[in-house]
């Protein structure tokens, strides 16, 4: 009894003595809980606002002014920069090239990635080894990929034309021809990204319940039928994700077309000049920031438009099936 008495009373005395300090530290702790979360997320929001969001929005301001690299901000010109860009052929050529390269790369890339993922989804020996094997090109920089491939796709002494020559096929103008140059550039993009996409799809494939395949088997569905009737529908959300991300990235393509030849202007006749190359040429070639900003905003709107279109199309398809 006496033991417990002293044991109880001692802390009470102590508490009374330091009651102000306890109250203060409690208050501090409550403030800590209340304010700290905002403190922890603030670096992201502040820095993103300054270096990501603000420049993007400020682009609109620059685009309605005369603005040169050297002179800086000039007069307000309204939609003149947009009018100039939209009324001259380079923008439309760049738009055509960008979409052409994007389609030639994205469609085969996703189809091929599906095939690779389906094979990787089998019960392989040394799984990690094969998965790493398809991912290898991802660590090669786009600039390095382009320098290697633009050499292999050389019009005169390139490896590919040499091999075609051995087969008795006439050399292809990989740089001079519009479509051929798009195929070459799409090949570079796909070289780097197909394995990566395949691994994303593989992860989704492994989440498909195995019972579905068992049931389809019993119903007599073959392996191809299973792939199209089970695997593909089950992968739809992942496929949408892959399509949307490759749209956002693909429409901004710059590295590959910029380094496809030594000059970097997108070819003598703009065969492979993309929108971002055009943006760069206006801004840092002609030093006209107003027009470059107009192109940036137009591309921004195009990307949003295509993104929404993607979502709409996939929704209709989902409803239909």
């Amino acid at each position: 009894m006496t033991m417990t008495d002293t044991g109880l009373s001692a802390p009470i005395v102590q508490k009374q003595r330091s009651v102000r300090r306890v109250a203060f530290s409690q208050k501090l702790s409550r403030w800590d809980l209340k304010l700290s979360p905002y403190l922890y997320i603030s670096p992201f929001f502040v820095l993103f606002a300054i270096t990501g969001l603000f420049p993007l929005l400020y682009t609109a301001w620059v685009s309605v002014h005369e603005w040169n690299l050297i002179g800086g901000q000039g007069d307000f010109v309204g939609v003149d920069n947009f009018a100039f860009v939209l009324s001259n052929p380079p923008f439309w050529i760049a738009l055509r090239n960008t979409f052409s390269i994007f389609l030639i790369s994205a469609v085969p890339q996703i189809a091929f990635a599906l095939l690779i993922a389906a094979v990787l989804d089998r019960n392989l020996r040394a799984k990690t080894f094969w998965r790493m094997g398809v991912l290898l090109p991802y660590v090669v920089a786009p600039v390095a990929v382009t320098l290697i491939f633009s050499n292999m796709f050389g019009d005169q002494y390139g490896l590919i034309n040499n091999l075609l020559g051995d087969l008795g096929i006439a050399p292809i103008g990989w740089h001079s021809d519009v479509l051929a140059s798009h195929v070459a550039i799409a090949t570079m993009v796909n070289f780097r990204w197909t394995g990566y996409t395949a691994l994303i799809l593989l992860a989704a494939m492994q989440a498909v319940p195995r019972d579905y395949y068992e049931a389809a088997m019993i119903d007599g569905a073959g392996i191809v039928r299973q792939f199209f009737s089970i695997t593909i529908p089950q992968l739809r959300p992942t496929l949408i994700f892959v399509i949307v991300t490759s749209t956002i990235g693909g429409l901004q393509i710059f590295d590959e077309p910029r380094l496809y030849d030594q000059v970097g202007q997108g070819g003598a006749n703009s065969q492979w000049m993309t929108i971002t190359i055009y943006l760069y040429n206006l801004g840092w070639g002609q030093l006209n920031f107003g027009r470059a900003a107009a192109v940036a905003w137009l591309l921004f709107l195009i990307i949003i438009l295509v993104g929404l279109l993607n979502v709409a199309i996939t929704r209709t398809i989902a409803k239909a099936s």
């Binding site: 993007l56 490896l159 691994l199």
Partner: protein
Amino acid sequence: MTGSGLLERRTTKRPEPHPVRSPARRRRRGLVNGQRPGWKAYGFLTAIMLGSMFPLYWSFLIGSGDASTITRQDIVWWPGGNFIDNALAVLADDSVNFWRAIGNSILVSSVVSASVVLFSTLAGFAFAKLRFRGRNGLLIFVIATMAVPTQLGVVPLFIAMSQLQLAGSVWAVILPAIVSAFGVFWMTQYLSQALPYELIEAARVDGASLIRTFWSVAMPAARPAAAMLALFIFIATWTNFFWPFIVLDRQNPTLPVALSLLQSNYFVDYSVVMAGVILSTVPLLILFVVAGRHLVSGIMQGAIKG
């Protein structure tokens, strides 16, 4: 005799249905990917792997030859002996400050991945484990910004960097990259399932402040995801070209910018260019050999295209 014979026959007959049924069962398992696939699958993957490696081999073929290799009509399939000479030529090229480029690439990639990991883990900890007003809305905002092509803000970013006297310096490359929406999303996802509330409460009961809790409880728990994030950001920064190309000076490049300068030299010797390609790729190849398995599992856990 007959009886035992009958009996014996019966016992041998009884398991008969099994061997008959089992091929069907095995086939079924094969179709649901239970069985080991045949040589075709391995053959296909081997072809893909050779295809992945060939361009690198080709760049080494040219990078180890001399200026004439590239204009030969017959294809040379074996490396020459000039790689070291070509690599030294790259490093000694006055128009391209390659040593500087190596240093800059290491500096930029390290600083960016360290800061992205720190800020992402901090924000991810708050989003995953702390309650505060506006949490859901702010998190949705973070996810939405992942789809914003911020690269298109280059014009004002360049104007701002020029006014801050930072154009040409590596800080112009580092500053816009020190936070990442993807990183915040990634760490939030990981911490919400990998860090139990009990651990945080235990630390709080022990009297740890929130930042102390973050540092000694959340950070260690976040380590696997943080390492993967660092890996992806490092690779993305190392290979990034567009913005560094715009903002950096010729004499102060990163490796991709240096490669582009090598190629645009007036007299371009492709064996030297390819030696440069090899030099700039080898560090990431080493990283790939060491940490490739983590890259694979990172992608399969939901890393997105950078």
